[in-house]
Amino acid sequence: MSESHWLKRRHSLDDSILQSALGGALRGNVDDADLFFESSQYEGLLLDEGDVQRTSLSHREGVGARVLSGERTGYAHTDELDPRRLNEAVRTANAIAEQGNADQSVSLSQRQGQRDLYAVGTSPIHVALTDKIALLDRIDIAARGTDPRVKNVTVDLSVEHRSIVIVRADGLVLHDERPLMRMMITCLVEENGNRQTGRSGGGGRTEFGFFVEDGRWERWVEEAVQQAVVNLDAVEAPAGKMPVVLGPGWPGVLLHEAIGHPLEGDFNRKGTSAFCGMIGQRVATELCTVVDDGTLPGLRGSLNIDDEGTPTEQTVLIEKGILKGYLHDRLNARLMGHQTTGNGRRQSFGHVPMPRMTNTFMLAGESDPADILRSVKRGIYAVGFNGGQVETASGRFVFTANEAYLIEDGKVTAPIRGATLIGNGPEVLKHVSMVGHDLALDEGVGTCGKDGQSVPVGLGLPTVRIDEMTVGGTAV
């Protein structure tokens, strides 16, 4: 198996060593176990004040050994990849299991993936630094040329490549090669002492050429400058309850916070989610169907297999307003008597897997987005957000717009600043009265944090009208 050669070539970890380590992990009263080997390379570039001033390259590799017994998880990781440290990690992880039996012997079998959602000719990590710098320089010049009020441009480029080998309890050895890249362009504009920033960007698990295809970076530059310029004239946001129209794409962060997190299996198994026991109940109007889908080629949240070796899939969370299912990893699926949905993810070999989202979005409806805006007498139209947060137990979530407008008599009017939207997960989608036909996925910049672990995710939404949401501005 060519992919595992880095384990053998660089660290002399051959199949007999892996097999014996797995045997040690399965010793005693063990329900499940795995070894997660990872070699990652990360490259960062920062353009600021007209030049790429900072570049970084980092390489990290190691193994996490996990043993599951009942509700207990034993975990140990080391970044010293040698047989002694591997066996030490296995013994440490196995200490949570009740002892008794001798080591188990499971023979290993290699499995080639059934599909490759991110097959690339050249992984972006291997594109020459000079080519990356040349692209960032072009972006800087273009952004400064867009509007004389642009006073500074920063471009953050991060590129990574992870080689994964998972040894599962059943002896299957799975491999995955994961490229990923992300660009964020920030423009600062200034007019009469009023300074504003605007941001745009994108990326995915794809080739470096993605940035220049279809005029992508040029569009991101325009969006970043436009967002900053719009905010120069922003007025105070209103405060209180009112209709809210969310634009397509990134505003799907609403679903991620309000629906996705509270449907993660761990919270529901532990009885700490606002959605506990609500499967089969109506939590949204019938216009709403929400899915998590890790199988879309090239997207930031997509994976061939999750970090436990399960192929990702499309999981329906809400179907026509009815709550359908949870997002599961192996542990929570086993304990709840469900099937895993391929959502067991971890930040790195140094972290325990948890149920996490992949790409989460609402399916398109039938309304014309222009009609949706026309239907609102007084409300707000939010098209850009910084990010959000949810408290899964109460279901309360919040997210803050960085580009939003007033809607007055069906027309989009003044830009507003500092509009925070707040609501309650099981309630918010009951107020969705129109869903547009313009579903868009975000362009690949999202990172989700949970229990101190960050993983890349995707978001998506068509234009939707929510009849009633609390907006937190300063104008009473």
Partner: protein
């Protein structure tokens, strides 16, 4: 073949020198353990070992950084050679370079960052976590669920050196105990948590106390409702006040200032808050969670006044940003293994005032006591703030009822101009040591009105 971190560091720096370049390197090695108990049963036992080395090279005014967890000498040679190559592709930047070696120093002794002989066992930790969770759930019969009680402990050693001959190291330990009880009242869940976090195990609050506070905080929030949209005085508890201090410190970071992404740009010497308000960063607090003897570039730590009596004193600066802005470094370089240094805080403090939290609450006729803030609603470029919040409503000087699903919004400048009271209760168990703060007026957004 285990080499020490110091040997790895010296190998890297020798390779940098041999290439005719300058540079510095930082090596980290740490071990840590986490134990989590939920409803009395062991949920997780996790142990980690982490090592790594990061190098920064200067080829004239061109620089690059790189890091690796592979400490074999051949891998370190490859790392340095690749980094030299990358530096040559990068733009020359005026002011890039190491700090003057004469300014470097290992810093003061006596910070007591490492506890001695405190080998907590997994069994001890499980007992502590169980005791804390039991204590939390005993506070109120409605506390029937739990997100668990977690005990973590570990230590790490940082070794720093430059190609110009400076070398220093320190070891720090960390212990924490956190409990998160959940109330379930007719399917309506309420959660809050409390933690004790200390360098030394012996300084931790008892499991009973941590549990009791977590239980009381959670119970006090049961049955929360939203509020009417209004403008009222707002009191922040020490934890919530920390978010405001961080917003000010971010705006005083040299990197934000230089990029124009700061509403405090070009305002050194200006008054932006009431007299009596002092914001400073202090890496020299004994046993402080953010304390360190020297910064990420080998410059000895010192206390930095950021705002004194309401007047901006200085920015947070590393060597590069200081040179760029024509100011000396404030020895505030923050640095991990993987990236280039940047400026940052260590123990960010607001000097305590004289009022007790009860006195401050007692001074409010009708207002909000914020115990939690959510979201990412601070705009450092403009100073606008708009956040989700939860807490308790104050009526006639007393806590009246819990509130949630509300927003608070305002502007940091007008907020700190309207600062009416500073508590005597700074949060000691955090890298952000802020007391209770009371502001004259903010907009509270709620579901009614």
């Amino acid at each position: 073949m285990s080499t020490t971190m110091q040997e790895s560091l010296e190998h890297v720096l020798a390779r940098v020198r041999a290439a005719g370049a300058e540079g510095d390197a930082v090596a980290l090695e740490g071990v840590s353990t986490t134990v989590r108990v939920r409803l009395g049963e062991v949920d997780l036992v996790s142990q980690s070992r982490d090592r790594g080395i990061g190098v920064r090279v200067f080829h004239g005014e061109r620089s690059a950084v790189a890091s690796t967890s592979d400490l074999q000498f051949s891998a370190l040679d490859e790392l340095v050679d690749a980094t030299m190559g990358r530096a040559q592709s990068t733009a020359a930047v005026e002011h890039a370079g190491l700090p003057d070696v004469a300014l470097m120093g290992g810093g003061p002794e006596g910070l007591a960052l490492e506890g001695a002989g405190e080998n907590l066992s997994v069994e001890d930790a499980i007992q502590m976590a169980r005791a804390a969770e039991e204590s939390a759930l005993a506070v109120d019969p409605r506390l029937t669920q739990s997100s668990g009680a977690e005990v973590s402990w570990g230590q790490s050693t940082r070794t720093f050196g430059t190609s110009t001959g400076f070398q220093a190291a320190y070891t720090g330990s960390m212990h924490s105990l956190r409990v998160t009880p959940v109330a379930d009242v007719g399917g309506e869940l309420t959660r809050d948590s409390w933690a004790s976090v200390r360098r030394h195990a012996g300084d931790l609050a008892t499991p009973e106390e941590v549990g009791r506070i977590a239980g009381e905080r959670t119970a006090s929030r049961i049955g929360a409702t939203t509020a009417e949209t209004c403008r009222v005085p707002v009191v922040f508890d020490p934890r919530a006040a920390g978010r405001l201090a961080v917003a000010l410190a971010n705006a005083l970071n040299g990197y934000s200032v230089q990029r124009g992404q700061s509403f405090l740009k070009d305002r050194i010497g200006e008054r932006i808050a009431v007299p009596g308000f002092h914001l400073f960063d202090d890496p020299l607090l004994e046993r402080g969670l953010g304390s360190r003897p020297f910064d990420g570039e080998g410059l000895p730590s010192r206390r930095n006044a950021l705002i004194e009596d309401g007047v901006i004193q200085n920015y947070l600066l590393d060597t590069f940003m200081g040179r760029k802005l024509g100011l000396p470094s404030t020895h505030a370089a923050r640095r991990g293994i993987a990236g280039a240094p940047t400026a940052g805080t260590t123990n960010l403090c607001i000097a305590p005032g004289s009022a007790s939290p009860d006195e401050i609450i007692g001074s409010v006729q009708d207002g909000l006591y914020v115990t939690e803030m959510f979201g990412f609603g601070v705009n450092p470029t403009t100073g606008d703030i708009s956040q989700g919040a939860a807490g308790l409503w104050i009526r006639e000087g007393r806590i009246s009822h819990p509130v949630q699903e509300i927003t608070i919004a305002g502007h940091l400048l007008s907020l700190f101009e309207s600062l009416e009271a500073i508590g005597n209760d700074p949060h000691p168990e955090s890298t952000i040591r802020t007391p209770t703060l009371k502001f004259g007026e903010m907009t509270v957004g709620g579901g009614q009105g």
